[in-house]
């Protein structure tokens, strides 16, 4: 009766369950759920690697209790990724290996995906900010060089008309620098980056 119950219940709750025999082989105690077929062609579980070795150590040392590994990821036939956990159980001297579908990790992945995409976008905004700061330094340096050239021009004995042009250019240069500083300080960074980017020809 109990075995009948398990053969119905375990696949229904997406668990593949095996009992480990004394010779180290495994026997299924219920029909595995469909997702499990993506993992194995046989029941020696070579893909488990060190997990199986650790499970064997656990069974050797424990008369009762359980140990869990995972989440492990696998893709279904349509290429969608799903997750599962591996659980070694020791109970009344019997040893079991369970493969449990891990939908919590599927949800965790969605959350991490969103968080990491935001982190990547923030990193990119950081790059834009650094780019804007570097551009600001360059513009200030060029502005200072232009003012110095204008100062030397003004000191070289220009005509009244030339002096008027020099003074106008100096004012324009100061206004340009002030306007640029304001733009960097107040505008959204992406907009600044857009403004700083040379126009496409």
């Amino acid at each position: 009766m109990a075995d009948d119950l398990l053969t119905v219940l375990l696949p229904a709750i997406e668990i593949a369950a095996f009992e480990r025999r004394a010779d180290g082989s495994f026997t299924s105690i219920a029909p595995p759920p469909p997702w499990f077929s993506r993992l194995v062609a046989d029941e020696t579980f070579p893909f488990l690697g060190h997990i199986l070795e650790e499970a064997v150590d656990f069974w050797r040392q424990s008369r009762s209790g359980m140990q869990e590994w995972g989440p492990c990821a696998e893709s279904d036939g349509a290429g969608r990724e799903f997750h599962y956990k591996v659980v070694a159980v020791s109970a009344n001297g019997r040893q079991f290996l369970l493969f449990e579908l891990d939908t919590a990790s599927d949800r965790m992945r969605e959350v991490l995906q969103a968080a990491r995409e935001r982190a990547l976008a923030a990193g990119s905004r950081g790059d834009e900010q650094a780019g804007a700061a570097a551009a600001q330094r360059d513009v200030r340096r060029m502005g200072a060089e232009m003012r110095e050239l204008l100062r030397r021009l003004a000191a070289s004995g220009p005509t009244a008309e030339q002096l008027t042009v020099i003074e106008a250019l100096t004012k324009k240069c100061d206004a340009l620098l002030a306007g640029f500083d304001d733009a960097v300080q107040w505008s959204p960074l992406s907009e600044i980056a857009l403004r700083l980017r040379p126009p496409k020809v």
């Binding site: 690697g49 650790e54 995409e117």
Partner: protein
């Protein structure tokens, strides 16, 4: 048949899964899909003097949300440290993971992979830092999971180093 377990280690979104997909399935997708836990893949590598079955453990990337559990490395004969060439901070993460890995599995062969080599215009990894690591005996390869450049070479080099170890 010689079988070796290797692990992919690195920060998040550096391209570990993309490198494995390129190596095992010869495919690449531009869409970033984060990894949770571990995905195990297998591929045979033909070397001049041996054929090696690589069991590739593609581990989730490390960041503030998830620290890589080093127990995944148990039984590993080598590992690829992956950094994103366009994100300088990922080299620091790779170096930190290397130290943790050495504490877990000892001095097994490893390779530093500077991935996303196709994005040369956005390259951020400091050549001096890489050169300094090279002087310490590190093997460093540039790869692009997108174009496939350097990918086969990276896995084959690690396989050769593991056979010699």
């Amino acid at each position: 048949m010689i079988q070796k377990k290797i692990c992919m280690l690195g920060g998040f979104a550096v391209g570990k899964t993309s490198l494995v997909s390129r190596f095992v399935h010869s495919i690449f997708s531009d869409k970033y899909l984060t990894t949770v836990g571990v995905k195990i893949e297998k591929k045979s590598v033909d070397l001049p003097d041996a054929k090696v079955d690589l069991i590739v453990w593609d581990l989730y990337g490390e960041d503030d949300f998830q620290k890589v559990r080093m127990s995944y490395l148990r039984g590993a004969s080598g590992y690829l440290l992956v950094a994103d060439g366009t994100r300088r901070a990922t080299l620091e993460t790779a170096l930190s993971l290397h130290e943790s890995a050495q504490r877990t599995v000892g001095r097994v062969p490893f390779l530093l992979v500077a991935n996303k080599a196709d994005l040369a215009a956005e390259w951020e990894l400091d050549e001096n830092s890489l050169a300094a690591l090279g002087e310490r005996g590190w093997r460093i390869l540039r790869t692009s999971a997108k174009t496939g450049a350097g990918v086969e070479d990276a896995f084959a080099t690690l396989a050769r180093d593991m056979l010699r170890a």
